[in-house]
């Protein structure tokens, strides 16, 4: 057992954390949100330059073969900055599908562009009116000549409007398939909006979209297994991002308790608030522990991975809500203004719970899987 980071990991963490603190403060983030894209190409280029976009990809694909721990460190740092750039959408989520499902030829065609920061990917899986977090889709892909014709509609596509390439889940005759779709292809229409957390999000319609045989990732019917694996990796990343957002929220709140004066004293002198700040700290530390568990579970036994990831996601659903709500409350009115970072962290923490299964979903999943601790 060893909870120490290696020197290299420490350096990675320090570098990314410093990068976020120095180049992506709250006003920079506001600026990015107000830009036409709604996110910062400049910050994205900087992430590419630091090699972070290639971190989880294999060395033979031009990446660094980073592990879950490195991903955790990066996501925590990005979480502190509440970064709205497509790191999660492209590198983690869609990238995960490529890592766990795509052929060498597909990866060779796409991954280098991603690593260079030139190519944005988005995963289009969720649909309206479907059971939540199902691995099935109503969108269909039917064989046509050498390729496929895709029809359907997707919602909650994170950074769908930013992406050049979409990965679309669709039901084939043999089960769920995942398809690479050019976002500019005929029949694709994208309705761009923004999530309440500031992150761009889109609805995507696919009307008779023709793709070639080489668009299919894995085989027709392996889509669910690929998503299952990729989603767990993405959940671990979200857990780490939540830890970053919570840590930032906690620090700002404690600072505020020390500086805000009412009744002639710092409000942090009231025990009613002290205990609640301590409760926040406890939730943060529990979440941090679960982020480590999640990061270390990715490459092990699949059954144990699922249990651990579900446990971690359930934990941060609870902690994130508690930390966000308490931070807002202890700030008073300033906590709910858009001009202050805490409210935005609260919103991002809310979104993280909603993504890829909320707390209830994962608790139920744990019940199905037989609990956190495997039976003797």
């Amino acid at each position: 057992m060893d909870f120490e980071l290696t020197d290299e990991q420490k350096m990675l963490s320090e570098t990314v954390t410093r990068f976020v603190a120095e180049t992506y403060d709250f006003s920079k983030r506001e600026h990015a949100l107000r830009s036409a894209d709604g996110w910062s190409r400049e910050a994205w280029a900087a992430l590419a330059e630091m090699g972070l976009l290639g971190l989880p990809f294999a060395e033979e694909d031009g990446g660094f073969g980073g592990s879950g721990v490195e991903m955790m460190l990066i996501m925590e740092a990005l979480g502190r900055g509440l970064m709205v750039e497509p790191y999660f959408a492209t590198v983690v989520l869609a990238g995960g599908v490529l890592r766990h499902g795509a052929s060498a030829a597909q990866r060779a065609a796409i991954v280098p562009g991603v690593i260079a920061g030139e190519r944005i990917l988005a995963l289009a899986h969720d649909e309206a009116g479907q059971a939540r977090h199902t691995l099935a889709a109503r969108t269909t892909a039917r064989p046509a000549g050498d390729g496929w014709i895709i029809d359907g509609a997707k919602i909650a596509v994170i950074h769908g409007q930013s992406a050049g390439t979409l990965i679309v889940s669709a039901t084939t005759g043999e089960g769920l398939g995942l398809f690479l779709v050019d976002a500019r292809a005929d029949g694709v229409s994208i309705e761009a909006t923004r999530g309440y957390d500031g992150v761009p999000v889109a609805s995507v319609r696919l009307a008779g979209v023709a793709v070639g045989a080489d668009a299919l990732i894995g085989e027709a019917g392996t889509g669910a297994a690929i998503l299952d694996r990729s989603f767990d990796e993405a959940r671990a990343a979200l857990v780490a991002e939540a830890v970053g957002a919570m840590a930032e929220t906690f620090d700002i709140t404690v600072d505020y308790l020390k500086t805000r004066q009412q009744f002639g004293v710092a409000i942090g002198s009231f025990q009613a608030l002290q205990h609640r700040a301590v409760d926040m700290l406890m939730q943060l530390e529990l979440s941090r522990s679960m982020a480590v568990l999640a990061a270390l579970s990715l490459d092990g036994d699949a059954d144990q991975r699922r249990r651990n990831i579900a446990a971690a996601k359930a934990q941060i659903g609870k902690s994130g809500r508690m930390v966000g709500q308490e931070a807002v409350q202890m700030h008073g009115a300033i906590g709910i203004t858009a001009e202050y970072k805490v409210g935005h962290a609260f919103k991002r923490l809310t979104a993280i719970d909603a993504l890829l299964g909320d707390r209830d979903h994962h608790l139920a999943r744990l019940v199905e899987l037989g609990g956190v601790y495997p039976a003797e």
Binding site: D126, A128, G129, Q130, A131, R132, I155, A156, E191, T193, R194, G195, Y196, D197, V199, V201, S203, Q261, Q262, F263, G264, F270, A272, L273, R321, Q325, V328, Q329, G332, A333, G335, I336, T337, A338, E339, G343, H344, F346, K347, T350, A351, A354, L355, D358, D360, A364
Partner: protein, 386 residues
């Protein structure tokens, strides 16, 4: 003890219910159901409909347009209003400045303001809080210095809800800084068009623009606009803050939301969006909320009835505020959970896209009106003697 309404009360309920059904414009009902933002004009329109019926300011003294209702009638009225999806009028007019003027206003102030306030011909805002004076309101600093027949105001208010729409402000200003902080505060009425007033909007996390900063730069206010006496504004403010008791928990609103949640629950289960297991979990949570809501409702009725029998239930208002706001917030969590990832997108005009902004904005209810921490301090002090 008896939980039944009397036949008279039931007849009253039916009358109120019928009125709301007929009088509430459809577009307003729809906006309320979808949690859409109400425009100023929406609120004005509705308050005038209520006022025409004599029901805009029911708890004001009868002489000024109020109704001599029993506490049970007031309770029924509020509950029916919420169940009908009717908006509330302007709280600043109805619950704050109106009762204050009825009690402390000069004859001239009453003549000038009361009828116009009830009809929302004047839109009021509340200038109490300042950057340095929130929970500790009495530490406010914005100054009013006497100069002949006028005061000259300098300083800043903050969080002033809907100041951008307001015709007039009622506020607290420091006319004397030499004594205890509760002394030397004066309650003033000012025309928002007076030169030297600047309103700056503050955006909130739900994307709304209801909050503002208001700056005063040598703003001249006639001495005739003092309410009560110079330097005695704190007493007026205390009266105002304590005046609206019976509706503070907003049970009717929570009941209406619960019934909306129930129909959503059924619809989503029928559509297969909720799996049977998810449905069961949700039903369980709703049952839990319902138990607490019923307990709170009965507590409120006990308070109301103690009021009617002259019992001193003042600190009970703090209990109702804390538990009532917790209930309102809990309801928004459940809707948020139901919306799921589809609720991320903020475009659209349905309950799904309204779920998250509503959850965010309702965090305010435990902050304003005396934060829930301050309410608990009041309970500890006045009920427990701690």
């Amino acid at each position: 003890m008896n939980l039944e309404f009397t036949p008279e009360e039931i007849a009253f309920r039916d009358e109120v219910r019928a009125f709301f059904r007929e009088a509430l414009p459809d577009d307003l009902r729809r906006k309320m159901i979808n949690r859409e933002h109400l425009e100023k004009d929406d609120t004005v329109r509705w308050q005038r409909i209520l006022n025409a019926r004599g029901w805009a300011v029911t708890h004001w003294p009868v002489a000024y347009g109020g109704q001599a209702w029993t506490p049970a009638q007031r309770y029924i009225f509020q509950e029916e209003m919420a169940l009908a999806h009717a908006p509330e009028g302007s709280p600043f007019n109805v619950n704050m400045i109106g009762p204050v003027l009825c009690r402390f206003g000069t004859d001239e102030q009453k003549r000038r303001f009361l009828a116009a306030t009830a009809n929302l011909d004047i839109w009021w805002c509340q200038g109490f809080s300042e950057p340095g004076a929130g929970s500790d309101l009495a530490s406010l600093k914005t100054s009013a210095v006497r100069d002949g027949d006028h005061y000259v105001l300098n300083g800043q208010k903050i969080w002033t809800t809907q100041a951008q729409h307001a015709d007039w402000m009622f506020g607290l200003f420091r006319t004397d800084g030499s004594g205890k902080k509760q002394q030397g505060i004066t309650f003033l009425l000012l025309d928002m068009k007076t030169p030297g007033i600047t309103v700056r909007p503050i955006e909130t996390i739900d994307g709304g623009h209801d909050a503002n900063e208001v700056f005063f730069d040598d703003v001249r206010v006639p001495v005739a606009n003092v309410v009560g006496e110079e330097g005695k504004g704190w007493d007026v403010a205390k009266h105002l803050l304590g005046s609206e008791r019976s509706g503070i928990a907003r049970i009717g609103l929570s009941k209406e939301r619960l019934s909306q949640l129930r129909s959503l629950e059924r619809r989503l289960a029928a559509e297969g969006v909720l799996t049977p297991a998810e449905h069961e979990r949700l039903a369980f949570k709703l049952a839990e909320v319902e138990v607490e809501l019923r307990a709170l409702e009965l507590t409120q009725l006990r308070v109301v009835s103690a009021d009617a029998h002259g019992g001193g239930a003042n600190a009970a208002a703090s209990i109702l505020k804390v538990k009532g706001t917790e209930m309102q917030q809990r309801m928004t969590e459940l809707v948020l959970e139901l919306a799921g990832p589809a609720g991320l997108a903020t475009a659209g005009h349905d309950w799904v896209s309204a779920a998250a902004p509503f959850y965010f904005t309702m965090r305010k209810v435990s902050i304003f009106g005396g934060s829930n921490e301050i309410q608990k301090n009041i309970i500890a002090k006045t009920m427990l003697g701690l």
